[in-house]
C-alpha cells in the first residue's frame, strides 16, 4: 500500500495548503539570508519540496515539515560557502540533500524532525519557533514573557536539547523503556554535567541498551552546543542582539567588566559591517578551552568583500563611506584578529579575546 493510498486524498495536503505556507517560508528564509540574491530561489525550492511531499505528510504536520525543509534549504546555501564550520551549529544535523538516491533518507529525517517538534509542549515549541523562525531575539522574548534574556536563552537551550532527543527517538523508532531514559538523554543532550550527575546518567547508560546507543550522537554534539552561539545578522536590531548574546556567553568565563564591554563593542562593529556592506550574514560566538580559555567570534557574510584588506585596516580608512568601517579599532580591542575577504565572495572576520589578558583596564 503506497503512502498516498494510506492517507487518501481527503487527508493528504493539497497545493492550496502549501500556498498558505508561503508567507511563513518567506519569513524563515529572509530572516536567515536577508537580501541575499538567492533568497527567492530558496523560497521556491522549499515550496517545491514541500509540495512534492505534501500528500504523504500527516495531517497537521505540514507546517513543521515546511519549517524543517526551509531550514535545510537555507543551510545548504550556507554549507556551500562554508561546509566545515556550519556543521557544528545546526539545530540537528540533517544531511545535505545532494544525490537523488538520498532523497528518501532525507524525507525520513524531516518527518522525524516534525514528530520531534510536535512532542515539545506548546509553550516551548512557540518560543523556539519564534526564535528560530522569526528571528525574535532573546530580549524581545524575555520582555514578552516577563523574564530575563538569560533565562530565555537557557530555556531555549533546554528546548533544543529536548528537541535533539525527541528527534533521535523518532528517527531511530525507539520507545524509551524506562521513565529515566528521557531525563538522562536530555541531560546528555544539553551537555549539563551537573544534571547528568543528578540523574545518574553514566549508571543508566550501563543498564539501558537503547540509551547507550542513542547517547553516542548526543555526546558527540553536546560538547559544542552549549558554549557556542550562532546569530543571523541582517538588521540594526540584530547588531544589538548579537553583542548582547556575545556578552552573555562571555560572562561564563572570568572576564572583567572591561573585557565584557570590549567584546560586546567588537561584536557590534563587525556586525555593523555585515549589515552595511553585505546586507546579511552571521556571527558565531564560541567559548574556547584550548590553547587557552577565551572567546572566539567569527563574523561572516556573502557580501561584496573588501578589495584591499591592508588598506581597510589602516586607520584613515575607517569612514562610513568606505568598506572596513571600524576594523582598525576592533583589531586593537581584541587579542587575535584575522580577516579573509574575497571580492565578490564575502568577508570573514575571526577574532579572539583570551581570558585574563587586559593590562590596561581601569580599576
Amino acid at each position: 500500500m503506497s503512502a498516498s493510498e494510506r492517507f487518501g486524498d481527503s487527508l493528504g495536503h493539497t497545493a492550496e495548503d502549501v500556498a498558505d505556507l508561503i508567507p511563513m517560508v518567506r519569513r524563515i528564509v529572509y530572516a536567515r539570508v536577508g537580501s541575499h540574491p538567492s533568497a527567492e530561489d530558496l523560497v521556491q525550492e522549499t515550496l517545491t519540496r514541500v509540495l512534492s511531499a505534501a500528500s504523504t505528510v500527516e495531517p497537521g504536520m505540514l507546517e513543521p515539515y515546511a519549517i524543517v525543509t526551509a531550514r535545510n534549504v537555507v543551510s545548504s546555501l550556507w554549507r556551500d560557502a562554508d561546509r566545515k564550520n556550519r556543521n557544528q551549529h545546526r539545530l540537528v544535523d540533517l544531511s545535505a540533500p545532494e544525490p537523488p538516491e538520498k532523497q528518501v533518507v532525507l524525507e525520513e529525517e524531516q518527518s522525524a524532525m516534525a514528530t520531534a517538534l510536535a512532542r515539545l509542549d506548546e509553550r516551548e515549541r512557540r518560543a523556539l519557533l519564534d526564535h528560530e523562525v522569526d528571528g525574535t531575539d532573546t530580549h524581545a522574548l524575555a520582555a514578552r514573557h516577563g523574564t530575563t534574556a538569560g533565562a530565555v536563552a537557557a530555556q531555549l537551550n533546554r528546548t533544543r536539547a529536548r528537541l535533539r532527543v525527541e528527534y533521535l527517538l523518532a528517527i531511530e523508532h525507539v520507545d524509551p523503556p524506562t521513565d529515566r531514559c528521557r531525563p538522562v538523554l536530555i541531560a546528555l543532550s544539553s551537555g549539563d554535567q551537573r544534571r547528568q550527575r543528578e540523574v545518574q546518567a553514566a549508571q543508566h547508560l550501563l543498564e539501558c541498551e537503547p540509551c547507550a546507543r542513542l547517547s553516542q550522537p548526543l555526546l558527540e554534539r553536546g560538547q559544542q552546543r552549549d558554549d557556542c552561539l550562532r546569530i543571523p545578522v541582517s538588521s540594526d536590531a540584530d547588531i544589538v542582539s548579537a553583542r548582547r548574546a556575545a556578552r552573555e556567553l562571555a560572562t561564563r568565563l572570568t572576564f572583567g567588566a572591561t573585557d565584557l564591554t570590549v567584546i560586546a563593542t567588537a561584536v557590534s562593529e563587525v556586525c555593523r559591517n555585515i549589515v552595511r556592506f553585505a546586507g546579511s550574514g552571521e556571527v558565531v560566538v564560541e567559548l574556547l578551552e584550548a590553547p587557552r580559555r577565551g572567546i572566539q567570534i567569527v563574523a561572516r557574510d556573502g557580501g561584496p568583500g573588501i578589495t584591499d584588506v591592508d588598506r581597510a585596516l589602516g586607520d584613515g580608512f575607517s569612514t562610513y563611506g568606505g568598506l572596513g568601517l571600524g576594523l582598525p579599532g576592533v583589531r586593537r580591542l581584541m587579542d587575535e584578529f584575522a580577516i579573509a575577504s574575497e571580492p565578490g565572495h564575502g568577508t570573514t572576520v575571526t577574532m579572539t579575546k583570551w581570558e585574563g589578558t587586559d593590562r590596561e583596564r581601569p580599576t
Binding site: 567588566a257 572591561t258 570590549v262 568601517l325 580591542l333 581601569p362
Partner: protein, 132 residues
C-alpha cells in the same frame, strides 16, 4: 518610540535640555534620537544640552559618531552639550577603538554636568537670549 516603554526621555529644565537614554539603542533608534533632540533644541531655543548615557553598556563607533554629531549640531544652534554618565569600561573601550568623544565635554553625572554648563554658560552668554 514604538509603542513599548520609552527608550529615551527628553526633559526641559529652564534653558537646558536633559536627555536620558534608558536602554541600549540600535542604529536607527540612535538616529531617531538625534533628530528628536536636535528638533527640541531648536524648538526650545536651549542653551545647554545634557545627554545621560549611563544606561549604554556599549558606545561603539556609530554611537560615538552620533553623539559627536548631536553636539556639533547643537553648537551650531547655539547650545553647549555635555555627555554625562559614561561608564569607565565604556570610556576605556571608546579610547581603544579610536572613537573618543572628540571635543564634546563630559562630566561624571547629571549634577556635575549642570555645574559645567552653568560655568560655561556664564562665560559664553547666548547673544540673542533676552535674559542674558
Amino acid at each position: 518610540m514604538n509603542g513599548g516603554p520609552a527608550l529615551v526621555s527628553i526633559m526641559r529644565q529652564g534653558s537646558t535640555l536633559i536627555a536620558s537614554v534608558h536602554t541600549a539603542l540600535n542604529d536607527s533608534e540612535l538616529v531617531r534620537f538625534e533628530h528628536d533632540l536636535v528638533d527640541q533644541i531648536g524648538e526650545h531655543r536651549s542653551r545647554g544640552v545634557i545627554i545621560d548615557v549611563a544606561a549604554l553598556d556599549v558606545i561603539d563607533s556609530f554611537a560615538a559618531l552620533t553623539l559627536r554629531r548631536i553636539a556639533e549640531m547643537a553648537r551650531l544652534r547655539g547650545a553647549q552639550t555635555v555627555l554625562v554618565g559614561i561608564q569607565p569600561e565604556v570610556a576605556f573601550t571608546m579610547v581603544r577603538l579610536g572613537m573618543g568623544t572628540g571635543a564634546v565635554p563630559t562630566a561624571l553625572d547629571l549634577e556635575e554636568g549642570l555645574a559645567l554648563l552653568a560655568e560655561q554658560g556664564s562665560h559664553h552668554p547666548r547673544p540673542d537670549d533676552p535674559e542674558a
